[in-house]
């Protein structure tokens, strides 16, 4: 097994993380992913690849291969878990709902950015002095929280953040050496990995597919796969590392800094065995440390894509990230890099040997 030393000063690594930093610091609530589309367009323009867009908000970048070779879709979703304005209080605060699944317990007192203007705000709740004793032991649900952007009254709040305005966590990307800290590794880690994988040379046609709205029900997946009719989808994701105290080994989704996670099954898809075993064999032959997803939970775009065009085989590779779907998460550079290595090696193998039968 390869053990990455993850040296922060490794040549080229700074550039590598620069793209991830841009992607994570940008706002991309479900249905509001324009900043991500722009960053991706800028990145691919350096490769001479123009974007293809659709009416729902997906964006695609196609690197043509040789005719007769497989079309491989590299799939990642642009959106992140977020909040959305659903009302305004007479005191000038914003009532909000979740876009995607966020644990209510991690919301209170967090810094947020509201709307395209990125107005700063904080998630507020009733002060402890005004709470009854029994409220201390109860988690405040999202619909009882407010986002405070400092407005003096309802009219000002309505003007500053109209209904439907999206809100993301205000978390700056930080490089901690072996590990990076940011919001939204789910799925900017995947977006980053798609970009880096597509730098490879191959005779296969690669479709970099960046979808909208995965966190609210895999909304963009179907349009992507129907449009390009790929022979194979490689979904690249950020998944939950559960190697925490009191999580038994058999309930742990993935271990941090132990390599990319190969899904055998989740609640949306059974990965076809021949594809999964080929992926595993590729990792072994290339000495890439990997792990199987330890739980049968969650779902990804693959869950929707697998039915389309008469059935489309999908595999899922993910970087294990701690605390995803929260304001701040951690990812290891070694895991991220190995995810790209594995994706490239898998595509190279398919290029050489064809699709598994």
């Amino acid at each position: 097994m390869r053990i990455s030393n993850g040296a922060a000063g490794k040549p080229g690594r700074g550039d590598l993380m620069e793209l991830l930093k841009k992607l994570c610091n940008a706002s991309g609530a479900p249905g509001d992913e324009s900043e991500i589309r722009q960053i991706l367009t800028d990145f691919y323009s350096q490769m001479g690849i123009a974007p293809t867009t659709d009416h729902v908000g997906n964006i695609f970048f196609v690197k043509e291969g040789k005719p007769g070779k497989p079309i491989i879709m590299l799939d990642a979703h642009m959106d992140e878990v977020a909040l959305q304005v659903t009302g305004h209080t007479s005191e000038g605060e914003l009532k909000v709902a979740q876009l995607g699944g966020i644990d209510d317990r991690v919301l209170a007192s967090k810094h947020v950015l509201v709307g395209k203007e990125k107005t700063r705000g904080v998630i507020g709740l009733k002060p402890i002095h005004n709470q009854k004793h029994e409220e201390w032991d109860v988690v405040t649900p999202t619909n009882a929280l407010v986002v405070d952007i400092g407005c003096k009254d309802k009219a000002e709040a309505e003007r500053m953040a109209p209904l439907g305005t999206t809100i993301v966590f205000d978390t700056e990307f930080e490089d901690w050496g072996e590990v990076v800290k940011a919001k939204s590794f789910d799925d900017r880690a995947g977006c980053w990995a798609v970009c880096k994988t597509m730098e490879m040379e191959t005779e296969c046609t690669l479709v970099g597919s960046f979808t909208f709205g995965e966190e609210i029900g895999m909304k963009g997946a179907v349009f992507a796969v129907r449009r390009f009719m790929p022979d194979l989808v490689v979904s690249l994701e950020g998944t939950s590392a559960g190697d925490m105290p009191e999580v038994p080994e058999h309930q742990n989704c993935a271990r941090f800094r132990c390599g990319p996670v190969i899904t055998f099954e989740d609640r949306s898809v059974i990965i076809p065995r021949n594809y999964r075993l080929l992926l595993e064999d590729t990792a072994q032959k290339n000495s890439i440390q990997y792990q199987y997803k330890g739980t049968v939970t969650g779902g990804t775009n693959a869950g929707r894509m697998q039915f389309e065009n008469g059935g489309t085989p999908c595999v899922v590779i993910a970087a294990p990230c701690r605390y995803i779907h929260s304001p701040v998460s951690l990812a290891a550079k070694s895991d991220l890099e190995a995810m790209v290595e594995l994706s490239k090696a898998f595509i190279q193998r398919i290029d050489k040997e064809g699709l598994p039968q």
Binding site: P248, E249, H250, Q251, F264, E265, I270, I271, P272, R273, N274, Y275, R276, Y292, G294, T295, V296, Q306, F307, E308, N309, G310, G311, P313
Partner: protein, 326 residues
């Protein structure tokens, strides 16, 4: 029909691992050439005239999914579908390799609700290394039941076996000129996944689903709608997600009456997941569901009747010669 049922009822067929049942169906299909796709579906075509009719039956049964093997060789798992912990405790399961084991549970404090995370399968392995020769991560294991065909009743088989037998019989017997696609589907218990892929490939005009449906002729059954064994196949007339095609259903009933085949009707729709998948995939399709009355529906070891299966086969064989699509 009886012979087909006999040859299918004891074959384990967990979701995603339907190959043993599929191979047996292929053998029984009397020289017909089928195609198997990457999901494990078996599709056999009967080219003909008119609208394309997809006739489907799912091949899989409830199972558990292996997610972990510990250092002592105990197997941890997730349930593949909604099931109760108490229903599976101490049950025997059988893995794709043929290895079998019993479901046990950790000691939990009295009054504590037992969860699947506290359960394991003991396959008798000495350690992880020996266990991993018998079981792989990602395997699905079936619940082993002694299935028998006795007194015209199918006892102990999982829900999928009799509908698959009906479809196999139909594919062999049908000699009409309708444009039919027989689909023996994989991963049906996971919400009609296999069928979904076939639907996007074949784009049928109408889907005829052969499935089990809950019988209510058991002691003190709370469901007052009367669905009996030996009272003929059941026409499902209500769909929660996709309305049933009443035009096609009326043709099935006319054919049944003319042929002296007894049928029953039910408004109990237990096919939401399957229908939801279809509704998302295609904008316009008709569905007819032919149910085989099944006691202990959704449990391990159900009871159904050979006569209902025979009647369903006969009904399908005759009705599929009529103009089902308006």
């Amino acid at each position: 029909m009886k012979d087909i049922i006999q040859k299918l009822i004891s074959i384990p067929s967990p979701s995603g691992f339907e190959e043993k049942l599929r191979e047996q169906v292929t053998k029984l299909l009397e020289g017909k050439i089928g195609e198997v796709d990457f999901m494990g579906n078996l599709v056999v075509k009967h080219p003909g005239k008119g609208p394309k009719i997809l006739v489907e039956a799912q091949m899989d049964e409830d199972s558990i999914i292996v997610n972990h093997v510990d250092k002592n060789g105990f197997v941890r798992f997730y349930p593949s579908t909604a099931m109760k912990e108490a229903d599976i405790l101490n049950r025997q399961v059988i893995f794709p390799s043929g290895a079998c084991g019993y479901i046990g549970a950790e000691e939990v404090a009295e009054g504590t609700v037992l969860g699947f995370d506290k359960m394991f399968v003991d396959i008798g392995a000495h350690d992880k290394k020996t266990a991993m020769k018998m079981v792989q991560i990602g395997d699905h294991a079936s619940f082993h039941t002694e299935s028998r065909l006795e007194g015209g009743r199918v006892i102990g088989a999982s829900n999928c076996k009799v509908p698959v037998a009906v479809l196999t019989w139909l594919a062999n017997e049908y000699d009409g000129d309708a444009n039919l696609v027989y689909a023996f589907t994989a991963q049906g218990r996971l919400g009609g996944r296999g069928a979904a892929a076939i639907i996007t490939r074949e784009n049928p005009d109408i889907i005829v689903t052969i499935d089990s449906t809950p019988a209510t002729d058991t002691p003190n059954c709370p469901d007052k709608a009367k669905i009996d064994l030996d009272a003929g196949p059941v026409l499902v007339v209500k769909g929660n997600i996709v309305p049933r095609d009443m035009h096609a259903i009326s043709i099935f009933e006319e054919v049944a009456e003319a042929s002296g085949i007894q049928t029953q009707r039910t408004v109990k729709d237990v096919y939401d997941m399957h229908d939801m998948r279809i509704a998302r995939l295609v904008s316009s399709v008709s569905i007819v569901t032919i149910g085989i009355p099944t006691r202990r529906f959704g449990m391990f070891g159900s009871v159904s009747s050979v006569s209902d299966a025979q009647a369903a086969g006969k009904l399908l064989s005759k009705a599929l010669r009529k103009k089902l699509v308006k």
